[in-house]
Amino acid sequence: MNYNIEINGQTFICPDDVTVLLAMKGKGLTSLPIGCCAGGCGICKVKVMEGKYETKVMSRAKVSVEEAADGFALACRILPRSNLKIEQFFNK
């Protein structure tokens, strides 16, 4: 199943078995920085504002249990389960 993903105003389609970051990368979009694509470096950290999703394993140093419960996640680990509205997380 395909879902619409909106990140920082850019919209693209993401299948439910592809992570949001890889779908974005595949479309040649640059809404988010692309790092390790494996849940380790944390550079693609986001907050999901609307929608349902699952996450693959993420570094606990980058997304704590509390943050994950608040909708924070790494885009390279997010599998959409509905249309999503996402905002980039800025650390600095």
């Binding site: 920085p33 692309i34 390790c36 494996a38 849940g39 380790g40 394993v57």
Partner: protein, 307 residues
């Protein structure tokens, strides 16, 4: 002046899923799995390595580097260096023989960059994997993937590179082989050797302590590097940069990520270093050429993506 530290002997890497990590380090990079212990740690080596293992994988919810161990000549050197580390003001501890499989006692210290290092004198030595002791063949059959020859070095990011360079050169007897100097004369990257290699350990100045930039494995030829790049595509592995050449060390290289986001390098060739050689200097303002000699620029996340 050299003080009896021989080589990087092992690195312990934290991974978030061991089976995924083994598909990567064993099946793709081509390290040989030699053992697993009661703590679930998996021990691997490059086939040319004479000691029992050089890479230890440990499962964790936070990827990154646990520690790097350097092998020293003998127990006397180990004792003497331990005393020198204490005199230098390092926080030093000791781990007993057998804590790591087949490894003697290890003297642990923390560098000013926040990284854990250790030195040890003994490890089981079964010899090169798949090789006879007498009349050995050129290479063993049954290697997989990139057929990495050995764990070679790490590049680490952290604060206090100058103090860490002093620790490695003055206490442990490494040579500064290459350096990156900013316009104010500060050394912002230090590449150091305890051998004839262009680097056995390297540091880049960065605000956060104890970060891993990459763990590097040696391949034999440029042709092997191209095949390694093919394998990255064939296995949907996230590639970072390359194949290309570095300015620093002039090695030929590919960067890519393990399934937990730790950056790896496979490389071949490059410069050599003798103890009487002065350090090679690169200007920080020409960092593009220093790091990626063909592209001449650094893609934005190369210096920021760390574990």
């Amino acid at each position: 002046m050299r003080k009896g530290v021989m080589r990087p002997g092992h690195v312990q890497i934290r991974v978030m899923d061991m089976e995924e990590a083994l598909k990567h380090y064993r099946d793709l990079i081509g390290l040989v799995e030699v053992n697993r212990d009661e703590q679930g740690r998996v021990y691997l080596k490059g086939w040319t390595e004479v000691d029992k293992y050089s890479v230890i994988l440990v499962e964790s919810d936070t990827p990154g580097l646990d520690f790097i161990g350097f092998k020293v000549l003998n127990d006397d050197v180990l004792n003497s260096l331990k005393s020198d580390l204490v005199k230098h003001g390092c926080e030093v501890s000791e781990l007993p023989a057998g804590d790591l499989d087949g490894c003697g006692r290890r003297v642990r210290f923390i560098a000013p960059t926040g990284h854990n290092f250790e030195i040890y004198a003994q490890k089981e030595q079964p010899g090169k994997w798949g090789m006879k002791d007498v009349n050995p063949d050129a290479w063993p059959l049954d290697l997989t993937g990139m057929k990495a020859e050995r764990f070679d070095h790490c590049l680490l990011f952290g604060p206090n590179v100058t103090a860490t360079r002093k620790l490695f050169t003055e206490v442990l007897g490494f040579d500064l082989s290459e350096r990156v100097v900013d316009p104010d004369g500060n050394v912002v990257a230090a590449f150091m050797s305890c051998s004839m290699k262009a680097h056995d350990i390297a540091f880049v100045e960065a605000p956060e302590v104890g970060k891993l930039h990459h763990v590097s494995f040696l391949l034999e030829t440029w042709e092997n590097l191209l095949k390694a790049a093919d394998l990255l595509t064939m296995t949907n592995t996230t590639k970072d940069v390359g194949p290309t050449r570095h300015g620093l060390t002039h090695g030929q290289t590919i960067y890519f990520f393990d399934p937990s986001g730790n950056r790896n390098e496979v490389f071949c060739g490059g410069d050599y270093h003798y103890p009487d050689h002065p350090p090679v200097t690169w200007k920080a303002e020409d960092l593009g050429k220093a790091i990626f000699y063909h592209e001449l620029n650094i893609h934005p996340t190369y210096l920021e993506v760390l574990t």
